[in-house]
């Protein structure tokens, strides 16, 4: 099942029951935008911790996340992050599809981005040149960014993480459910988190946009080796 297309086939994007259910609900972006980015695409496994964010299970066993719950958690996460000084926020992205989204989040919000291989000791060893002392850490994928998560636990640093249905929220203080494997999904999730953090800080008006498109948050396919 690892070969599943997390960018979302046309078929998986047609979540008509979810569209109907949330027709009258105001989301951060129109539901079509969420669905076409595939933020709702889970995996073929689930656990009791993530169950409450699941909208339904398809006949083939694929778990579909609830877009409204994703939307709500992005808002809560933004309030949470906005209470910290920008430079005390560290966002971690270990795999290529998270590079550009994390980099853009950091650029717009003033956070620090830690991309690629996480050097052990980055949060724990003051003698390292890469040493940082975050007050809050954002994890793109707990299954990939394991070292960062371990060190955040070790140091007692609060964590926010994008979590899919295949992940147990060990060491995570705030879950943002979502597809953290797809390129377009990661771009939209970070785009919305960025925009919402700036709105919470009062740097953007409550309905103001970032001034760049979501595509600017996408890792370009050519840059991924």
């Amino acid at each position: 099942m690892s070969s599943y297309d997390y960018e979302g086939s046309e078929e998986v994007k047609q979540e008509s029951s979810m569209i109907a259910k949330y027709a009258a609900v105001e989301l951060l972006v129109p539901i079509d935008m969420y669905l076409s980015a595939g933020v709702h695409i889970g995996t073929y496994s689930s656990n009791k911790y993530i169950e409450k964010y699941v909208f339904r299970v398809r006949n083939d066993g694929l778990y579909i996340l609830d877009v409204r719950k994703i939307d709500e958690r992005i808002r809560v996460a933004a309030r949470f992050i906005a209470r910290y000084e920008p430079q005390k926020v560290v966002a971690v992205g270990g795999k290529p599809y998270s590079f550009r989204p994390v980099e853009m989040f950091a650029r717009f919000t003033g956070a620090k981005a830690v991309l690629g291989r996480f050097i052990p000791g980055t949060f724990t060893n003051p003698y390292l040149t890469t040493y940082v002392e975050p007050e809050i850490v954002i994890i793109s994928d707990p299954r990939v960014d394991t070292q960062a998560l371990t060190e955040a636990i070790e140091m007692g640093i609060p964590t926010v993480a994008f979590v899919s249905t295949d992940t147990k929220p060990s060491g995570i203080d705030l879950i943002i459910p979502g597809n953290n494997k797809g390129r377009k999904s990661l771009a939209l999730l970070y785009y919305l988190l960025t925009r919402q953090v700036l709105r919470e800080r009062g740097l953007l008006a409550p309905n103001q946009d970032l001034g760049v498109s979501v595509e600017e948050f996408e890792t370009k396919l050519t840059t991924v080796v």
């Binding site: 309030r79 949470f80 209470r83 636990i153 007692g156 640093i157 929220p169 203080d173 879950i175």
Partner: protein, 70 residues
């Protein structure tokens, strides 16, 4: 003077000041690397999670706004 007053007024560490884990209600010893943060949702309550509850993913609930994490 400053030195003298430091010795004449010892800091009393009251047991009541020991943080309590919001999930298991156990008091968290000072040497334990637990985590503390303001409720992500309302920001009005300091949530302490002991290391064990945090690692096990045990849910917590903010007594002010009812927010349920993680």
């Amino acid at each position: 003077m400053a030195l003298a007053s430091r010795f004449t007024k010892p800091v009393i560490v009251d047991e009541i000041s020991t943080p309590i884990c919001i999930s298991c209600k156990r008091s968290i010893p000072p040497y334990e690397k637990a985590v503390a943060f303001l409720c992500p949702n309302c920001g009005k309550y300091v949530i302490w999670r002991c290391r064990r509850c945090r690692v096990a993913g045990v849910p917590y609930r903010c007594p002010v706004c009812g927010f349920e994490g993680p």
